[in-house]
């Protein structure tokens, strides 16, 4: 059963427009819990309170404010905050196209599918063109009163928008200093490289499953029927006293053996 579109927009590249429908590409599969009162298992309610008096403040009476470095609080009125909201628009403005490598991983946030509304020819042509060019588009749009920046990417023959984080949010490795220490041994480096080669493969997302989630749900099912399995504590790992070189060599031997028998 097809999902419902969250929003409708129009990809704008120069004067070219492409009507699209936007869908969330993420499905939440995580196990969600509610907070309960220990004694009567009653689901708890959250309230905002004045910590000095303990009085509950209803949401209608809650104000918003900013607290600066000096501990000064500036209260902001709802009207003032509303004025800051970006103007609504259906445009997904593409400002430029850059190579895929121009964007580091840390910036990617949430993916959305774009499905064609009309002018289907252009939609698939754009997807193919982006793939051939190995480029991504940098996009700006306003959705539900929020300003977004994202990457327009080709995906499985169609198009996706992946929202991006803001410049100040991502710490770049270039702002950090690598840990120092004695120079690395050539032999150890060679062994490490060989070990990586022995364990080489392709990234196949279908190969990986969230098994913990499955076990958790199974446990919950059993517990609800009064058949909870016993709890065992994890034992701490034993430290190895072997040299790094010996350990690498042993790993390589084991990895090669495993590959052969696979």
């Amino acid at each position: 059963m097809a999902a419902r579109a969250m929003w409708k927009g129009s990809i704008k590249i120069g004067r070219t427009a492409l009507a699209v429908k936007l869908y969330s590409a993420v499905q939440d599969k995580s196990v969600h819990f509610r907070l309960l009162h220990k004694t009567d298992k009653e689901p708890l309610k959250q309230h905002m309170i004045d910590p000095q008096t303990g009085d509950v403040v209803e949401s209608a009476d809650v104000k918003r404010g900013y607290i600066d470095d000096g501990g000064v609080i500036v209260m902001l009125e709802d009207e003032e905050l509303e004025e800051l909201e970006p103007e609504g628009s259906r445009d997904i403005e593409i400002t430029r196209f850059v190579p895929r490598s121009a964007l580091s991983h840390g910036y990617y946030d949430r993916p959305y599918w774009l499905a064609p509304e009309e002018g289907k020819g252009n939609y698939y042509a754009l997807a193919e063109a982006l793939e051939e060019e190995q480029r991504i588009g940098i996009a700006r749009w306003v959705m539900r009163k929020k300003q977004y920046v994202g990457a327009l990417v080709p995906e499985a023959g169609g198009l996706m928008l992946i929202t991006l984080r803001h410049a100040g949010e991502v710490v770049e490795a270039s702002s950090l200093e690598a840990p120092g220490g004695r120079a690395l041994d050539k032999k150890e480096l060679a062994l490490a490289e060989q070990l990586i080669s022995a364990l080489q493969g392709e990234f196949d997302p279908d190969e990986w499953r969230d098994e913990y989630r499955d076990r958790l749900l199974e446990f919950i099912e059993k517990k609800s029927k009064g058949r909870a399995p016993k709890i065992r504590r994890l034992r701490p790992k034993k430290e190895t006293t072997k040299s790094l070189e010996d350990v690498l060599a042993a790993s390589l031997k084991a990895a090669r053996k495993e590959r052969k028998s696979a």
């Binding site: 009567d40 803001h166 446990f219």
Partner: protein, 306 residues
């Protein structure tokens, strides 16, 4: 009962570790690399606080509607709704016990070309810092990953949730990106895209390529990833401060509460210290950790400071 001095040293060691999102071990074949995991992403610039009409910062509390009162932390449990209004309680111990023995380690058994991972899988970015006395194994793995342009793939369980992770290295610093599992992403078919995609006309593709070329650049412009909303908000705040409009003072009790917020830690500072914390042991290391602890008890900056 541990001596006061050793308890202090233990606390200092824990100081760095406790700021880390997680501490554990990367296993690479039989090699064990103790690491700390830190977020590489700061929460966005301008967090607004909830206040009452007198400007007092509010706190969040939990209430039992049945008994019509606030409940303390030790009266709270987590429950899974197995049927409508029927809950099964799951304790921290149970969540932990469900982790298989090896899941506490990030066991790298597969290496893939780093640039082959589709960006739709990237969820959250973290930095890995060496947690052991020696940084050798850390640097060795980092160097090998960087040189060969590879990502190590593994799954591990942290705080009651399983993560798929890709570990890469750049200029001697290792980072970990959590990845979405395949079933957490909707397929093209799920959003109504046809299984058999129509083939685009060659002429249309050429037209699109020309359009792309006309707007092609080598990199992003710095301004493109700016947080405009945050900038506008800062301007509004500055204006109101200048005009002394709607200004309130943080009450003393609230100051202490603010210090407990996770957001107030200077992430880059903590990362820098953690990256340099290995390979030097003895009095210097202890002194550095004591300094870190001292600095943390001073009033910290709130979220929103650039």
């Amino acid at each position: 009962m541990p001596s006061h001095a050793s308890a202090q040293r233990e606390r200092a060691r824990d100081e760095t570790r406790s700021r880390a999102f997680w501490s554990g071990t990367i296993t690479f074949g039989l090699v064990s690399i103790p690491v700390n995991l830190f977020p590489a992403v700061r929460s966005h610039g301008v967090a607004l606080r909830m206040l009452n009409e007198d400007g007092v910062p509010l706190a969040r509390r939990f209430f039992c509607p049945k008994q019509d009162r606030e409940v303390a932390d030790d009266e709270i449990v987590r429950g899974y709704e197995i049927e409508k209004d029927e809950y099964v309680v799951v304790t921290d111990d149970e969540l932990e016990a469900l982790e298989p023995r090896k899941s506490r380690d990030i066991d790298l058994r597969r290496f893939v070309p780093a640039d082959e991972i589709d960006p739709i899988y990237f969820e959250r970015s973290y930095f890995l810092t060496p947690a052991g006395e020696s940084t050798k194994a850390y640097r060795l793995l980092g160097e090998s990953l960087d040189q060969n342009k590879r990502a190590g793939i593994a799954t591990f369980v942290m705080r009651g949730k399983e993560y798929l992770i890709a570990i890469t290295a750049e200029k001697g610093i290792m980072r970990a990106d959590t990845l979405r599992f395949a079933d957490e992403l909707r397929s093209a078919a799920d959003v109504g895209l046809p299984k058999k995609l129509p083939k685009a006309k060659a002429a249309d593709v050429t037209k699109m390529r020309k359009l792309i070329d006309a707007h092609a650049k080598a990199a992003l412009a710095e301004a493109e990833l700016a947080d405009e909303y945050a900038e506008q908000l800062q301007k509004l705040v500055a204006k109101k401060e200048r005009k002394h409009e709607d200004i309130y003072e943080l009450p003393e009790e609230a100051e202490e509460a603010a210090d407990d917020d996770a957001d107030v830690i200077d992430l880059v500072e903590v990362l820098k210290r953690s990256l340099q914390s290995g390979e030097k042991s003895g009095p210097r290391k202890r002194a550095r950790k004591a300094a870190l602890r001292k600095r943390s008890t001073r009033k910290r900056k709130t979220a929103g400071k650039r």
